[in-house]
Amino acid sequence: MQEGVQIADPARRSMLLTALYIAQEQYGYLTKDAIERVANRLRLPVADVYSMASFYSLYRTEPTGRYVLQVCEGLSCHLVGGADRLVDYLQKKLGLEVGQTTRDGLFTLETVQCLASCGTSPAMRVNDALYENMTPERIDELLETLRGYHV
């Protein structure tokens, strides 16, 4: 059955990744509502769309803070004093653990795998922007700048 649908209109299904990005942008994260809307628009089973959202790590089915701080914990970042050191620093500074969000809803801390910035490591990502050659001092500056947008 599912095969039949795909062969009949393969291009429609190909829109799914893009559609999920758009829905995530509009809703903040992929709520039940957002997923159902995508499923309806593309005429796909809701369970199927859920399964996609859970497979790909850039889709979120839980709310996050305004800024998601993703620290690379890859080998090349670790070798030059990144990874654990920066994660520890951020945990202390923000008073949270990896996976948590600050009470003001501003920051969520996460760890990620190699960001393809190993030559300019330690690397981290904040929402869609990449930050390279990070140090605790540069993290301080970054957090201050981001907070500045919300006073």
Binding site: S57, L58, S76, H78, Q113, L115, A116, S117, L130
Partner: protein, 420 residues
């Protein structure tokens, strides 16, 4: 001094723009290919150049083009693999950000050679700047008539569009990439059939890494003979090496294939930071077995690294000094593979998790006497038994670590801590 080919424009201001590309000899191979060559001649030329895939496996590009069925009545596709996620690798991101038109010119020529009229860029979801650069470059190429209908009056038409992945390393594997392009979970397909016969939407599909495609315009412009005079007889052409870890100048270096590892580390990368002693080198990305200091004279070519028991992979060199704990290195790489296992087949899914648990335990000083043997046994149960090559990739760091630094693993068990 080696004359740079692929990265020659990287230092120019606005090197990503179509104007700078054209001003420096860009889009000159395209009319030559479309007006002066027929597809068969192009396939012959690429075969004669000796160009091998830069995505990790090193498969001869011309042979892959030749596998695509002939004839204009068959719908065919080309996919441009920009999913770069192998830890240690950062060349594709730079190529796209700094010189996307070089890749586009390669895509158009490859599509013409295999008779495809639709090509897709699949880019890693995290590469936000890369997505923007791709879209802008493609728009620019359309505006100049290099893409679209009847390109340069040749009668050949090609459409190219960008698809953004969404965070899954496995989507770099060509059949998983195709699944993802179709809007599905990125789980690899069984091979054979290979994409060249059954690919995107069941149609013949040519999948190439961006660095491979970037070589094409130069081969057309300067000839197969020129190209194959660079490198070694079995590994021809220039290669973008990525170097990271404990060296002074980290970054990318474009050098001929076959350059000794020693030259890259001690000349181009300026040697070890703080003049520490070298302990181990990952030569081609996280999934390639390590080399030891006595092997630094190995030429960086497909065949010589294979003889040395490892692989050229993506050409991503990670250098580690004497203070590096090899159990920690294995743990960190295993965390990557366990996290990125797509979960489709059991040996890879549960095996990587089990190995990670043991490595975490060893590193935390809670290792048991039997752990090392269990680690090895678990690795052997994955070897050759997984659905896609990811399983074999995942066990390499552990197996090569155990082979070269077993005493360090044992030290973790007996002393409950790192020896370094």
């Amino acid at each position: 001094m080696f004359e740079k080919v692929l990265t020659r424009n990287f230092g120019l201001p606005r090197s990503e723009s179509i104007g700078v590309y054209i001003a420096n000899g860009g889009y000159q191979a395209l009319p030559k290919a479309l007006h002066e060559c027929d597809p068969e001649q192009l396939i012959e030329m690429v075969t004669a150049s000796g160009l091998r895939g830069r995505g990790g496996a090193g498969f001869p590009a011309g042979r892959k083009w030749g596998f695509m069925p002939k004839g204009s009545d068959i719908e065919k596709y080309v996919c441009v693999n920009t999913d770069e996620g192998e830890p240690g690798t950062f060349k594709d991101r730079e190529l796209v950000e700094k010189d996307p038109h070089q890749i586009i010119e390669g895509v158009i020529i490859a599509s013409y050679a295999v008779g495809a009229h639709r090509a897709f860029v699949y880019i890693r979801g995290e590469f936000f700047l890369g997505v923007k650069r791709w879209i802008k470059a493609i728009d620019g190429a359309y505006a100049k008539g290099f893409l679209g209908k009847n390109i340069l009056g040749s009668g050949f038409s090609l459409d190219l569009s960008v698809h953004r992945g969404a965070g899954a390393y496995i989507c770099g594997e060509e059949t998983a990439l195709i699944e993802s392009l179709e809007g599905k979970r990125g789980e690899p397909r069984k091979k054979p059939p290979y994409p060249a016969s059954v690919g995107l939407w069941g149609k013949p599909t040519l999948v190439h890494n961006v660095e491979t495609l970037a070589n094409i315009p130069h081969i057309i412009n300067r000839g197969a003979e020129w190209y194959s005079s660079i490198g070694t007889p079995k590994s021809t052409g220039p290669k973008i090496f990525c170097i990271s870890g404990h060296v002074r100048n980290r970054g990318i270096f474009e050098l001929p294939l076959g350059v000794p590892l020693r030259e890259i580390i001690y000349e181009h990368a300026g040697g070890m930071t703080f003049d520490k002693k070298l302990k181990a080198v990952i030569p081609g990305g996280a999934s390639t077995p390590m080399l030891t200091p006595d092997q630094v004279d190995t030429p960086m070519a497909f065949e010589t690294l294979e003889e040395a028991g490892t692989m050229l992979g993506t050409g991503a060199i990670v250098v580690m000094n004497e203070d590096t704990c090899m159990v920690d290195v294995a743990r960190r790489l295993m965390r990557f593979f366990a996290h990125e296992s797509c979960g489709r087949c059991t040996p890879c899914r549960t095996g990587t998790q089990r190995m990670l648990n043991i490595l975490e335990r060893l590193e935390a000083g809670q290792g048991k006497a039997e752990d090392i043997e269990t680690l090895e046994r678990t690795a052997r149960k994955i070897q050759g038994l997984t659905f896609c090559p990811m399983g074999d990739a995942a066990i390499n760091p552990v197996l090569s670590g155990l082979k070269l630094f077993r005493d360090e693993y044992e030290y973790h068990v007996t002393h409950k801590r790192c020896p370094v």
